[in-house]
Symmetry: C2
Subunit: 229 residues, 2 copies
């Protein structure tokens, strides 16, 4: 990151983190030595807020407690949609039924999901991610959720807008073949897949998505990009 910034290139972090505010996320990164500001982070919750405002939607929130502050400015009275995030311990039987009851009671149920991940790893084991609960509500209400966050095209577009850069001048670096590489390429960006994190060797035979190049790690990605300046 230091080297990217020192070179004068612009940078935007796109995360599907929905268990914490951007402020918390940036605090963690800074503690790890990364020089990042809140404005340099594109995340699903603020993207959802933009969508809610644009369409005059008032959400019922089924999200993680620590994410609530991102929705502080949003009118949540008399809800006409449900916003679903990785609510973790808030995924109780009562809360799921409540979200369902609100949706099924709407003339045209609107479910906005802050991602569609299947599962993720925590220190105490694998956990069902927001996508699984999204599917439960979709099936019960016979609807399709609107997914905010990667790999949604709109999500990458808002990151590009933040940078003020057209897609053909941007490069995405990520570890997830579908969410990162697929999403960025759909937007017209070039995409590097790093062979770390979520990367699996089987990704290289993915039936639909092919990155523009592979790199062994983030440092190598930066080397390649800086060489081409």
């Amino acid at each position: 990151l230091h080297r990217i910034k020192a070179s004068g290139l612009k940078l935007q972090l796109c995360t599907n983190e929905t268990q914490a505010t951007r402020e918390d996320f940036v605090r963690k990164l800074r503690a790890m030595g990364f020089d990042v500001s809140v404005a340099e982070v594109t995340a699903p919750a603020p993207a959802a807020c933009a969508l809610l405002k644009e369409r005059g939607l008032r959400p019922h929130l089924l999200v993680h407690h620590d994410l609530m502050p991102e929705f502080a400015e949003i009118d949540k009275t008399n809800p006409n949609c449900v916003v679903l995030g990785d609510a973790a311990e808030n995924f109780t039987y009562a809360n799921l039924n409540k979200a369902f009851q609100l949706l099924i009671g709407m003339e045209k149920p609107v479910l906005i999901s802050l991602g569609k991940g299947r599962y993720y790893k925590e220190t105490d084991g694998l956990k069902l991610d927001v996508g699984a609960y999204m599917k439960a509500l979709e099936y019960a209400c016979d609807i399709q959720a609107e997914v905010v966050g990667k790999p949604a095209k709109r999500f990458f577009e808002s990151a590009l807008a933040e940078l003020g850069v057209p897609p053909e001048q941007a490069i995405m670096i990520g570890d997830d073949i579908v969410s990162d590489v697929g999403g960025a390429q759909q937007c017209g960006m070039r995409a590097l897949q790093v062979r770390t994190g979520k990367y699996r060797p089987s990704d290289e035979n993915h039936p639909e998505v092919k990155p523009d190049a592979y790199v062994n790690n983030l440092a190598e990605a930066v080397d390649i990009i800086l060489q081409q300046l």
Copy 2:
């Protein structure tokens, strides 16, 4: 029911009830004045037990507490499949993650679902049914559940086996166009839809299922059947 039995016809009740044992179910019906025995009830839990035994499967149970006794005889050590029922209050975040972790840890995950209902009504409002949780686990594990209970063909076949009657000599009476009418017809039975309970006028334009006849209520169904003896 009295009139059916008095006529010498055989009768089998097919229910998707998975919040109680057959014993409890029969007790409720008897309290309401219906003369029914446990042997006259076909239900998903015993159907699942037959399937588990047949295939040497040892289940992890995510079911309603009151249904547990139906699985008393089944070996549940070192589970190699998950059986999912309408667990109601047992649908906690921890229990869902536990079921998911077991499935994802299996070489070939086996999920047996005691139904695929979307939702049902309780005195305090609509509740998500087992089908919604089934979809969540299916998505997270990228698998298809095996559904026991209506409208599974095997479920109606086991009811017919209990009666000792071939499908063309049996008539199904039910209120659910897909689960009851569709399931029974797939088995080669004729099917009457009663215009009570779950029946909706829109059922009469169902794109796939057409009952052999409609009746206004159960008494009328019995009239018609007894007339034709």
